[in-house]
């Protein structure tokens, strides 16, 4: 049982590794679709918690994958999921990095970068939408999301300050 779950974690996340154009933030809707809607490894509430825990830790925002792996199959699950999301894309990056410089002036390279940009932005906005639907179950959490969005767009406050304020509001019982 546990081995087949690990194999499934490895399969799902190594596939996702190749689809992660624009980083893991752009991948959140697809992770949610597979983990919550298809595999039923966790509920919406679990997913929201995994997202929060990953945000509360320092480091790359791909850590949500580690937390999902942990939730599904413990420390080994976390390790398998994390390696699976990193390894295929890393191997590709390693291979491409060596030939890439030769194509520095190639027009196709510019076309690829210019063409993928709007798709990536659409993916990040979709992530925001899916997260809001998953996370914002009450008026209080909705208000925090809206306030964080507004403050990020209008001020230069450090993201950590905003996360800290939101956590403090939660501890104080407002959320």
């Amino acid at each position: 049982m546990s081995t087949s779950v690990l194999a499934e974690l490895a399969r799902q996340f190594s596939l996702l590794s190749f689809l992660a154009i624009g980083g893991v933030n752009a991948l959140i809707p697809e992770i949610h679709r597979r983990v919550v809607e298809m595999e039923h490894w966790m509920t919406d509430a679990d997913f929201a918690q995994a997202f929060a825990i990953a945000q509360a830790a320092p480091g790359p925002n791909m850590l949500i994958v580690s937390v999902i792996g942990w939730k599904v199959s413990g420390v080994l699950g976390a390790l398998v999921a994390t390696v699976a999301i990193c390894l295929p894309s890393s191997a590709l990056t390693f291979a491409v990095a060596h030939v890439w410089d030769r194509f520095r002036e190639a027009p196709l390279r510019a076309a690829i970068q210019h063409g993928l940009a709007p798709v990536t932005v659409g993916l990040v906005l979709a992530s925001g939408y899916i997260l809001a639907r998953t996370v914002d179950q009450t008026w209080a959490t909705f208000a925090i999301t809206a306030a964080t969005l507004a403050l990020t767009l209008t001020t230069r406050l450090h993201p950590l300050v905003l996360l800290g304020i939101a956590a403090a509001l939660g501890v104080a019982g407002f959320v």
Partner: protein, 176 residues
């Protein structure tokens, strides 16, 4: 030229510093502090990392590691980057599982995920602002959003259709 050990330690520090996005800290370490890359080299490494699939910062560590010390350099840099965040996030997950019944813990988690959602939306909005000069970029961005967020289509299909179309449009406009 950095050793494998200093690659590991340099990226270890980056992994521990970055909250809500590691890239600014990676830039500071690579360009300002250790001077392994010039500002221009960093931008090139970053644009390649963003163009290729996978977590951007992991790709940066792979490229920088391989540039100085080959395959083992990549392993040293990436392990350095991931080690502490991985341990810390699992510790947090275990702590959360143990204390999830306490109202303040649940409240803090709800608050953090709500604020972090606002941060993700803000990132998307900032990126979208840069697109608005180009009408077909806005259309492509909107179509991707609808397909993924509203229709909940599989990412693989969406990318398989939209990415080639979008690149073809860019290519065609450049050639004209």
């Amino acid at each position: 030229m950095p050793t494998k050990r200093s690659l590991f330690l340099g990226f270890l520090a980056v992994g521990l510093q970055g909250f809500g996005g590691v890239l600014p800290f990676a830039r500071r370490m690579l360009v300002d502090q250790r001077r392994w890359l010039s500002a221009r080299e960093f931008t090139e490494v970053l644009s390649l990392s963003q163009f290729l699939p996978g977590p951007n910062i992991v790709n940066v560590s792979i490229i920088v590691g391989s540039r100085f010390r080959g395959p083992l350099g990549s392993v040293a840099a990436t392990l350095g980057l991931m080690l502490m965040p991985f341990v810390i996030v699992l510790a947090l997950a275990a702590l959360y599982a143990r204390f999830a019944d306490l109202a303040p813990v649940r409240g803090a988690t709800n608050g953090i995920s709500a604020a972090a959602t606002g941060l993700v939306i803000a990132t998307g909005v900032k990126m979208a602002r840069a697109l608005k000069e180009i009408p077909w970029h806005v259309v492509m961005c909107a179509l991707t959003f609808v397909a993924i967020a509203l229709l909940r289509l599989p990412l693989l299909w969406v990318l398989a259709v939209f990415a080639p179309i979008s690149v073809a449009i860019a290519w065609w406009l450049m050639r004209r």
